[in-house]
Point group: C2
Chain length 212, copies 2
DNA sequence: TAGATTGTTAATCGATTAACAATC
DNA sequence: TAGATTGTTAATCGATTAACAATC
């Protein structure tokens, strides 16, 4: 079953939950106990009704006149998102971008942990980047198998991306997060999540055009 | 007016256009002259009708029985997206992620050009990263004003993000692409495009859950 | 011609928004 | 109590998909 609670969640809603979460954490750090959907909506530029709908997906219940208990809301979102359940992953390609991701300490807050980096550059193999050990790519299969790693991040140049994806799949990786601007060809049963700067840039430009 | 052609485009469509584009470029490099929406759809895992709808937004017209002219399609997408019109930007925070973006040579294909980086670290100020000169942050206002820069990228640690955003806005920047995991407070008339790893990670995990 | 493909128009699907009774 | 806020149910809006005539 996909969802514990059998409540469908739309992709837009799913993307908004972290936004509420950030804001709720901020409120909590300021000792705010209750917050209304109206207040949240103002901050995040949404409609109150949308905030309520989204939050209700997590099972959170508010109080009339008071709004939502901030601590409770935080807990419900963490719970719903499964951020407590830790998932391990590995990263291939320890250049600038790979290094940045290895050092992105925010991942642990979202239940994700990169346990090691891989590269084929002899100058960095054996070293550590942001406290993560870097192995040669030919160790990938062995290590992934042994630790039953299911998530792989690709940060290599686009030309090598397909090759790395193939290695990952052979190594038992089931989900690929691809930061290389390359369209990967992968089997049906593998999850591919493409990070696309071009699309993102496009959205930025669209926003600019809409505004001016 | 927002759209030259007065044809509304949905955000999902806008995100798909680069996907078609990549594939069309690939086909073109293989000397394919015509391609049907069915073939494209198969490659990108979409429905043929959706491909046709999206492509029609660019003004592209196909041929019965043949499909779409590959070169023509590429040109129409480039045109519609405005990738020929170059926009300059500056980047603040030249750590791992900032360096990665300074070296992301794909940007130029999408009409974007980072003309310089800024940092407050004396060890890198005055140096070059991927051929881009790095200036001290206190030069930002002067340089942005002089070159009439309208787009700023933030790659500093979350704690400094708001401060940098404020400086950018004072310097005449009109659109901010924020890679720092921080919710920025900005005036109404400034465009904010937030790059959110947490949301992205969340989507990856959702895809995994849906699959298994 | 027969068959493949486009592009238009209409139907469906899903997300957002509105309205409002229930609550404190 | 009066007023603010929730959560439910219904209406609206917009994107996707289906159906199919037109084209070559």
């Amino acid at each position: 079953m996909s969802d514990k609670n059998n409540i469908k969640i739309s992709e837009p809603s799913l993307k908004r939950l972290p936004l509420y979460y950030h804001h709720l954490k901020f409120l909590n750090s300021n000792d705010v106990k209750y917050v209304s959907s109206k207040k949240i909506a103002e901050k995040i530029n949404l409609k109150p009704i949308q905030v309520r709908k989204d939050l209700s997906i997590t099972g959170l219940v508010g109080k009339s006149r008071l709004g939502f208990n901030v601590k409770e809301a935080i807990a419900k979102i963490e719970d719903y998102m499964g951020w407590k359940h830790k998932t391990d992953g590995i990263l291939v390609g320890c250049g600038d971008l790979g290094s940045a991701l290895l050092g992105y300490d925010n991942f642990e807050n979202y239940g994700f942990n990169i346990i090691a980096g891989f590269d084929n550059n002899k100058n960095i193999v054996g070293k550590e980047i942001h406290g993560k050990k870097i192995f040669h790519i030919n160790k990938l299969k062995d290590l992934s198998n042994r630790l039953k790693i299911k998530v792989g991040i690709i940060c290599v140049p686009p030309k090598s991306a397909q090759k790395i994806a193939d290695i990952m799949i052979k190594s038992g990786i089931k989900a690929i997060w691809n930061f290389a601007p390359a369209a990967l060809i992968i089997p049906e049963d593998i999850v591919l999540h493409q990070e696309d700067m071009a699309s993102s840039l496009t959205l930025l430009f669209k926003k600019i055009k809409n505004k001016f």
